[in-house]
C-alpha cells in the first residue's frame, strides 16, 4: 500500500497494524526517516514537501511492482508525508514483510534509495537564513546506483 499525505505518521501504530496482518511472514523490516533538527551548523525550523498528486503515487507503485519482481515479498507499505514538517517528525515510513530477513532488508533498502533519488518529491528546508530547495547528495545517487550493479551481477 502507498500513502502520500499531510497526516502525521504514528510509526508504532502503523507497524503494529502491518505486523498483525503479516501473519505468514518470518521477517518484518521497517525504516523510519525523520526531519533532522540541524542542516550543517544551521538550525532547521521546518521542511516543506511537495509532490505531484496522482503521478508521484503512480510512479511509486511501479517501483513497488519492481521490488516484488526482484525479491519474494509478502507485503509492502510506503507512507510519505507532504506539506509542512517540523524537526523530529517522521517524513517517510517503509515496512516490508517476507519469509526471510534478507529479502525484507534488501527490499526496504531498495525502496528507500528510490524514494531518496527518483520519487517525485521536492523538499524545501526553512532555516533562520532563509529557504533552500534540497537536492540529493552524491552519496544518495551512489546508494541508488548499487542496485543497477546488483542486477547486472545476478
Amino acid at each position: 500500500m502507498i500513502r502520500v499525505s499531510e497526516d502525521m505518521i504514528d510509526p508504532g501504530e502503523v507497524l503494529a497494524a502491518f505486523e498483525s496482518s503479516a501473519t505468514n511472514a518470518g521477517a518484518v523490516v521497517s525504516f523510519l526517516g525523520r526531519v533532522r533538527s540541524q542542516a550543517g551548523e544551521t538550525e532547521v525550523r521546518s521542511l516543506f514537501l511537495q509532490h505531484y498528486p496522482g503521478v508521484t503515487e503512480k510512479y511509486i507503485a511501479n517501483v513497488e511492482a519492481e521490488t516484488r519482481r526482484r525479491w519474494t515479498i509478502d507485503d509492502i507499505l510506503i507512507i510519505h508525508r507532504v506539506g509542512e514538517l517540523k524537526p523530529g517528525e517522521a517524513i517517510v515510513f517503509v515496512c516490508v514483510s517476507a519469509a526471510h530477513r534478507r529479502e525484507a532488508f534488501e527490499a526496504a533498502d531498495f525502496l528507500m534509495d528510490y524514494l531518496k533519488t527518483e520519487a517525485l518529491f521536492w523538499k524545501k528546508e526553512i532555516t533562520q537564513a532563509g529557504e533552500t530547495w534540497i537536492e540529493p547528495r552524491e552519496q544518495d545517487y551512489m546508494d541508488a546506483a548499487r542496485w543497477n550493479q546488483l542486477s547486472k551481477d545476478r
Binding site: G33, L49, Q50, Y52, G54, V55, K58, H80, I91, V92, M112, L115, K116, T117, E118, A119, L120, F121, W122, K123, K124, W133, I134, E135, P136
Partner: protein
Amino acid sequence: MARVLFFGKLASLAGRQELQAPLPPGETTVAGLIDLITKDDAELGAALKEASVRVIINEQMDDNAVITDDDEVAFLPPVSGG
C-alpha cells in the same frame, strides 16, 4: 491550451505552480513550449532547459513529444524525497 506545471525550485522561480499556455498553430515541442512561456523571463527559460530538469507529459516521461491542446506538461527539477 496546454496546462503547464512547475515543481520545487522551478515553481519558486516561476512565482506560480501552474499556467495555461495557448499553443500556436503547427507542432509545439518541449523546447518550443519553454520559449513560448518564458519569452519575458530568461532566467526561468534557462532553468527549464537545464539538463537536470525532467519533463512529464500526461504522466509519461517524454522529452521528445509534441505538445497538443489539453496536454499536461510538468517540469521537474531534481527530486528530494525521504
